[in-house]
């Protein structure tokens, strides 16, 4: 009994640390984001936050199982941990914004959340307005998810992504409730083409991810994969269509334009701009250990690495 409890505590301890570290980027980002965008009107926030939505969407739609080799009937049970990183270039660091009246309504280039100092505009009356400063300095935006794949039935595999968010919020004060759920299927086309020289599969994935009441998202992807295995190594590639819808809900605390009596409770719908991507990667299977890495090129560039255990 004692052994059972110590194992359970051990597991809980590591699970909390694991989830904390895995989620620290989005949660820390949430605090910064909330403080930052509460000062921004819905018009101003879109350009400021869009690169983050794009990188989030590109990340969450990455890391699906790479190999297209799925048996008609067999056993696959594989737990993977996927790390993704969207590259942040100069284009993601600035956007065009317009200062509030009475300042000039000519757009000026200023920092996004990934940028540096916000631009300043001045008025002949001696007043000055500065746009919000960038808050995240990075060359890539990371994300990590656990992923479980099971199959194979009729040449089909089921893949799940899940975070038990309450495990963290129950143990760490002020940590926003984070939840992730994703489900996807892949179906082998190769089973219908016995002599085809490479493996082919198609699939789809649906995910929801939220951080507190502030950030709510849905992501959908449809993809086609081709792969070829050589002993321990599998090389793979594919094409993917994807969508990401993010809803930011916040209370605007900044000043409203003169005469504007708008509701300060803002619910802002944003779409990730990455819709198509081409992916190329490779994986290696060493018994129960599976490693893979790939790169995807679309509107943004995403790299992902996976460490998996199972058969």
């Amino acid at each position: 009994m004692k052994g059972y409890h110590s194992f359970r505590n051990y597991l809980r301890y590591y699970t909390v640390i694991l989830l904390f570290l895995t989620l620290i980027i989005p949660s820390k980002s949430q605090n910064v984001l909330e403080d930052t965008i509460e000062q921004l009107s819905s018009d101003a926030v879109i350009g400021y936050i869009q690169p983050m939505v794009d990188s989030f969407g590109a990340n969450i739609n990455s890391g699906f199982p790479g190999s297209a080799r799925i048996h008609r009937l067999g056993l696959t049970v594989r737990l993977q941990f996927i790390g993704m990183a969207t590259l942040i270039g100069d284009a993601e660091k600035t956007y065009l914004a317009t200062a509030p009246l009475p300042f000039s309504q000519q757009p000026v280039e200023t920092a996004t959340i990934f940028g540096d100092q916000g631009a300043s505009v001045s008025h002949p009356a001696g007043i000055e307005y500065q746009f919000q400063n960038g808050q995240i300095n990075t060359r890539y935006m990371p994300f990590v998810v656990p992923q479980l794949t099971v199959g194979d039935v009729f040449g089909t595999q089921l893949t799940l992504r899940y975070f038990p968010g309450s495990l963290v919020t129950e143990r760490i004060e002020d940590f926003p409730e984070i939840s992730l759920f994703g489900v996807g299927v892949r179906h082998s086309l190769s089973q219908y083409l016995p002599l085809f020289p490479v493996d082919l599969a198609v699939g789809g994935f649906y995910q929801t991810f939220s951080i507190g009441d502030f950030f709510d998202s849905e992501a959908t992807a449809f993809f086609a994969r081709v792969s070829k295995s050589f002993l321990l190594v599998t090389v793979y590639g594919g094409l993917q269509y994807e969508t990401t819808d993010v809803t930011l809900s916040y209370t605007y605390t900044g000043p409203l334009p003169p005469g504007d009596q708008s509701d300060r409770n803002i619910s802002l719908a944003l779409q990730g701009e990455n819709q198509f991507r081409a992916t190329a990667g490779a994986g290696i299977g060493l018994g129960v250990l599976h490693l893979n890495a790939d790169i995807s090129v679309g509107k943004v560039i995403v790299a992902s690495v996976g460490i998996g255990f199972g058969i």
Binding site: F7, L11, Y14, I17, L18, L21, T22, I24, I25, K28, S29, V32, D35, T36, Q39, L79, F81, G83, A85, P100, L101, P102, A111, D116, Q117, G118, H123, P124, A125, G126, I127, E128, Y129, Q130, F131, Q132, N133, G134, Q135, I136, N137, T138, R139, Y140, M141, P142, F143, V144, P146, T253, G254, P255, P258, G259, V305, I307, F309
Partner: protein, 179 residues
């Protein structure tokens, strides 16, 4: 158990490696200070009017918990709301002062132009309104003091008709630079 530990160590390493290059909160946040409004209720049967109100500058920080580096004024607005009985085409002349420093001078200003909140720095309306260029530096100097003071705002002048039944709002907008 060993497999589980190994698995967790791998995952932790992955998280740490990926999170390592991502610096968050690298620049100070800018906040908009809570708008500060002086409100005057004028109810006169004669054409002359006068009102006084006080603004506690410290209230602009009411929703800000970060350490403040500096505060600057970026807009001052005026809104004139006519109350029942006020002639529709009423115009007002006079001035609005802050701590006896003239903020703005009004010259036959149609109150209908300011029924909605308008910036006093809107240069499209200069035939009716003239701002004092020294006021913004004066207010910024007050906002630079370690303890934010209370300022007194006065409105005084003549209207074109009677009765003069108005609510006048002068609002100060600020940006707060945190450190």
């Amino acid at each position: 158990m060993k497999q589980l530990s190994f698995c967790i160590v791998i995952m932790l390493s992955l998280s740490l490696v990926l999170g390592n290059g991502c610096d968050i909160a690298v620049n100070p946040l800018l906040f908009n200070g809570s708008p500060l409004t002086a409100e005057f209720v004028i109810d006169e049967q004669q054409t002359s009017y006068q009102g006084t109100d006080q603004i506690r500058l410290g209230n602009l920080l009411s929703s800000i918990s970060e350490t403040v580096d500096s505060i600057k004024v970026f807009n001052i607005t005026l809104r004139i709301e006519p109350m029942t009985g006020t002639p529709e085409n009423l115009t007002v002349s006079g001035s609005i002062d802050v701590d006896n420093q003239e903020m703005v001078e009004m010259s036959n200003l149609p109150i209908s132009l300011y029924e909605n909140e308008q910036s006093i720095f809107d240069f499209g309306l200069t035939q009716y309104l003239t701002g004092n260029p020294a006021l913004v530096p004066y207010l910024n100097s007050l906002l630079a003091q370690p303890v934010l003071q209370t300022i007194t705002v006065n409105v005084t002048g003549q209207a074109s008709d009677t009765p003069v039944r108005l609510r006048i709002f002068v609002t100060l907008y600020t940006q707060v630079y945190t450190s």
